[in-house]
Symmetry: C2
Subunit: 252 residues, 2 copies
């Protein structure tokens, strides 16, 4: 830790609108070259939207048949019942409902508004974007492809923008990763005075996601950020490791 003195975050320039089937590795290698950055010894942080688009996680609302429950919820909250139908399909458990928002636990275990089903920043009106089915696998795949083409060592983090209980505003968090430990475990290390730190487990991938989010600006067409200065220690799957087990979760 003490050798870590500086971090930098660079937006990758010129990532185009991503189409289903797009080669994300090729797009990022081209963007890095355009930006004058070599994808070596760093972390590629990219927002979920372009991963979902490349993976074809798009649904045409006109083809969605809402169930009765979706119609009822939509009426109550002035929403599109087809949107709510998609939200319910992506949901394992509705955690809260109110103020026009459905807070859902997704099948991955993420707790977020509308189970991550988004109608903005879509390729056209009437298209919904769903979260990637397995964001850790998406990150592993992209990392593998980048390294196969000569980039790396590097890690990949896929982010989404979540609200939080009790706090206004949104921050980006990591929903998938490869090549970096999602939690940096400092337990057992001493504090400055040598006493054991009992609970010091920084969620490094979430902090990286949040920092990168400062450059992503939803409106600016900057879906990807390259981060240097964080040593790539460990590996691990974010969806698996950062989702709190029900048994230790005081907020189920």
């Amino acid at each position: 830790m003490s050798s870590r003195r500086a971090l930098s975050f660079h937006a990758l320039e010129g990532i185009p609108e991503v189409e289903p089937g797009a080669d994300l590795a090729a797009l990022h290698l081209a963007a890095a070259e355009r930006t004058g950055i070599e994808l070596t010894d760093g972390i590629l942080v990219l927002c979920q939207k372009i991963v979902s688009k490349a993976e074809g996680r798009l649904v045409d609302l006109s083809e969605v048949e809402p169930r009765d429950e979706a119609i009822e919820i939509a009426e109550e909250h002035q929403k599109d019942p087809r949107h709510i139908e998609l939200v319910l399909r992506e949901t394992r458990r509705v955690v809260r409902r109110g103020h026009g928002v459905l807070i859902c636990e997704t099948h991955h275990g993420f707790v977020c508004a509308n189970a991550g089903v988004d109608l903005s920043n879509t390729p056209q009106d009437g298209i919904a974007i769903l979260l990637p089915t397995d964001p850790d696998a998406s990150a592993r795949k992209l990392r593998g492809q980048l390294m196969d083409r000569g980039a790396g060592p590097l890690a990949v983090i896929i982010t989404d923008t979540f609200g939080r209980p009790w706090r206004e505003g949104l921050v980006d968090i990591a929903i998938g990763s490869a090549g970096i430990a999602p939690i940096e475990d400092l337990r057992g290390q001493g504090d400055r005075r040598g006493r054991e730190l009992v609970v010091t487990t920084p969620a490094s991938v979430d902090a990286l996601a949040a920092g990168a989010g400062l450059l992503m600006g939803k409106a600016a067409g900057t879906p990807s950020v390259w981060v240097t200065g964080v040593p790539l220690i460990g590996d691990g799957d974010v969806a698996q490791d950062l989702v709190r087990e029900p048994a230790t979760d005081l907020f189920r």
Copy 2:
């Protein structure tokens, strides 16, 4: 937003153990000089611990008389009853209790473990550190002192390390700030296709806190980080603006 292409985070070197009454502005100006950084056009992110120490928010546990409720809670969770007494004094409302943790709403409105009362990284055993009474005022004061001595323009963010519901691991968040808008309001701007973004309100100060936290490492004696690349737009008080109003909070 689109002009924001790169961010950098630099740890300030050689901030000593902070004593009550310490001149934080002088310590930071000296550390910046030592690090070879000019405190101009950037954001100073510092952890709450050194602010609390400078402000004398330290309590000797041997002088704390626990109330009956504190003794009961401490027995149940194998804690020091004097620690629990301090937690209760700092608490407006106990939000959850279990797994050896008290999740409290502080008098500021923050929801965090043990109301932010910490027994690690203290100057000596048997001393507890409390959160600053008014972290926004602390940030304003430090910013004013730095600018009076020729630094700036700059913003100041004071951070603490919080857990989150549903997610493992800890991230740093902003508990006080001055000289920067805590939430960057993008509502009304269009997405790439010109459609209005309905809910896009990044909590920029929390993202800056999280990113800076990557360099702070509790054990490493790095309480302060200098961030450049984020335009200083607006002002505002974090404690006031980022604490969600009960009326719109689905997780009260």
